[in-house]
């Protein structure tokens, strides 16, 4: 299939948390072939208030609102040929998308990118905020393979929690943290992960080659998680985010130290991450300019 947006119908919308919705889309290809950690490019073709126009006579200014954005796949249902993207309202494009109703079409390219591996017996998933979305897909894939699942999921506050009820059923052990202590343990996912590793040090964590840490969330959280993994000699795979133009590996704008997030990533194994010196420090804007995170 060619890498151009294909019209894909919204079949269901679920309000997950404050300013977060999951859009379920009808697409056999993504539903059947995607792996956790992969993403789709989601093209929002019109501002929401122009959707009912019978004659399209858009002011070019309206196009300023629109973009095609990379979104992690948060679930896939091959039987019903649907998949989900969990979208937080953060900018113009996502807020237009949030106003889209069921039945409308979005343009989809994908699945794209390098996924998480499912090769571990014991899996520790550490997520933060909207970064929990791809980990939800990963957890369901790992649970189906009967892996031992431990989860540490951090949110700012109770109202921003995502998929907690659902994940409790999938995980053998799930720890939820909130920055303000409004739910679960008070504090960050990283500090909770550090504490967890400290408490389980005696159980030979670092010597077990069957353990893998998977992480997605704010980059500073990921960096903290990676530091702990190094300290405890644990393998890790993390999902990174950068501004993506082409999404198919040819323009190079999403590069971080020569690795393209869209093609070499978004999931990177810890073995590769040693070369990624900008991690947690710098990113590039859509112009290619390097700026501090």
């Amino acid at each position: 299939m060619f890498r151009t947006p294909r019209p894909t119908k919204i079949v269901r919308i679920v309000d997950e948390a404050e300013r977060v919705k999951t859009f379920y889309l009808q697409d056999a290809k993504v539903a059947r072939s995607s792996k956790a950690g992969q993403f789709v490019l989601v093209w929002v073709p019109f501002p929401a208030n122009k959707l009912s126009n019978t004659k399209i006579d858009l002011d070019p200014h309206d196009f300023e609102l629109l973009d095609q954005i990379p979104m992690s796949i948060s679930c896939a249902d091959p039987a019903n040929e649907t998949f989900g993207i969990t979208v937080k309202e953060t900018g113009e494009t996502t807020s237009e998308l949030h106003k889209y109703p069921v039945g409308q079409n979005l343009g989809i390219i994908g699945p794209l990118g390098h996924p998480f591996s499912y090769k571990a017996d014991t899996c520790i998933l550490v997520g933060g905020g909207i970064g929990v979305a791809p980990l939800r897909f990963l957890a369901s894939e790992l649970a189906a393979r009967r892996r031992k699942l431990i989860g540490i999921m951090g949110f700012r506050t109770k109202g921003e929690m995502l998929f907690v009820k659902e994940m409790k059923k999938m995980f053998d052990e799930l720890i939820v943290t909130t920055d303000d202590g409004s739910y679960g343990k008070k504090g960050s996912a990283t500090s909770c992960f550090g504490k967890y590793l400290g408490e389980h040090r005696d159980q030979g964590l670092g010597r077990d080659p069957g353990i893998m840490v998977y992480s997605c969330g704010p980059e500073l959280m990921i960096k903290g998680v990676l530091n702990l993994c190094e300290q405890f000699k644990l393998r890790a795979e993390v999902s990174l985010e950068r501004y993506i133009h082409c999404g198919i590996g040819i323009c190079g704008f999403c590069s971080i130290n020569g690795y393209r997030v869209c093609k070499d990533g978004p999931v990177f194994p810890s073995a590769k991450l040693g070369n990624i010196k900008d991690l947690g420090l710098f990113r590039r804007t859509s112009s290619g300019k390097k700026e501090s995170i």
Partner: protein, 337 residues
């Protein structure tokens, strides 16, 4: 000795090519716009064995580029793009040139400006940054500041820009021509008269894609430029036209030196490289094919070119360069009839 007792002489194939005084280890160059937005990726491409790399086009001031979709593949062998010249501005980009140079191959800085003054300034900034050559992009279909009319479609504007850049830098200058003109040779004459060192052809071909269900143009910029294998034969024709025009200028005494042509457009494998060389290209650039084979496309093409030359008994690319041009001499250009 082989099994028949015949002495086999395995001539060594030499791919090295001279381009504007630089000895490239082979004639394969990374085209502008692909992986060239930062030095680290340019270094990675250099490590794949290419003869030189061209940066993403850089201008005076920072530009964010157009909204996505900026690159699409609407059908087989067709790639459309409208990036909108995103770049961090030449000052900021100077650091990337430094990093790219660590790759050990010549770094060609692709430049654009919104005024002739800007073109000159960016060229001189790139010279200071350590670029080895300058490729002047007068043909990007997305430089909208020039009122939707490309510099590369207007011989008068082209002359102004090339003259200004020529004055601004001593570096070898390559001009990248647009195929979206009635007669490309008109621009070749201008380039020769402005003392440009090499000609690169072609840039993308004006194009459009419409989504039949969503009922709107697909690219964020609405309009775009086409690249990929689908444009290869168009590019070949333009390169042949340019080569023949340069020959005619020489015959008429209007040109005394050799002006190398860099062929670009849809090159997918080694045989495509040979095709371009047979009609007069000294070097070629490869870009869109990265979509199909990633960076491995470069070593594949280089090995393939070696194998082809060995099979044909060539030791040097100059032995077959221009070979198919003679047949075209009397048909390629109306002026020749």
């Amino acid at each position: 000795m082989n099994s028949q007792g015949v002495k086999v002489v395995q001539e060594k194939v030499d791919l090295s090519t001279n381009l504007c005084g630089f000895k490239l280890k082979n004639p394969i160059i990374l085209a502008s716009g692909f992986l060239g937005s930062n030095g680290e990726l340019l270094k990675k491409v250099a490590a794949k064995g290419v003869g030189a790399v061209v940066t993403k086009t850089v201008g005076m001031k920072e530009r964010q580029g157009y909204k996505n979709p900026t690159v699409i593949e609407p059908m087989q062998n067709v790639i459309l793009n409208a990036m909108g010249l995103p770049n961090p501005g030449c000052r900021e980009f100077a650091k990337e040139i430094g990093v790219a140079k660590e790759g050990g191959v010549p770094v060609i800085a692709s430049i654009f400006g919104t005024t002739t003054k800007e073109f000159a300034k960016v060229a001189s900034e790139m010279e200071h940054a350590g670029a080895d050559m300058i490729e002047i992009n007068i043909s990007c279909p997305h430089a909208t500041e020039m009122n939707y009319k490309l510099i590369g479609q207007n011989p008068r504007l082209t002359r102004k820009v090339l003259t200004a850049v020529r004055k601004a830098t001593k570096l070898p200058l390559i001009v990248k021509l647009s195929p979206n003109v009635t007669d490309i040779t008109e621009f070749v004459t201008v380039a020769v008269e402005c003392n440009i060192d090499a000609i690169c052809a072609i840039n993308t071909i004006q194009a459009l894609e419409i989504d039949p269900v969503l009922e709107r143009p697909v690219l964020g910029n609405l309009l775009g430029g086409q690249s990929g294998p689908s444009i290869r034969c168009i590019a070949l024709r333009k390169v042949a036209d340019i080569a023949l025009h340069l020959e005619r200028m020489k015959e008429k005494g209007k040109l005394s030196k050799d002006i190398p042509i860099i062929g670009v457009g849809g090159i997918r494998d080694a045989l495509d490289v040979v095709r371009f060389m047979l009609v007069g290209a000294t070097c070629v650039q490869v870009g869109s094919s990265i979509l199909y084979e990633d960076m491995q496309v470069f070593p594949k093409i280089i090995r393939g070119l070696e194998a082809h030359m060995r099979a044909k008994g060539y030791t040097n690319t100059s032995e077959f360069k221009n070979k198919a041009l003679g047949l075209l001499k009397h048909v390629s250009h109306p002026e020749a009839n």
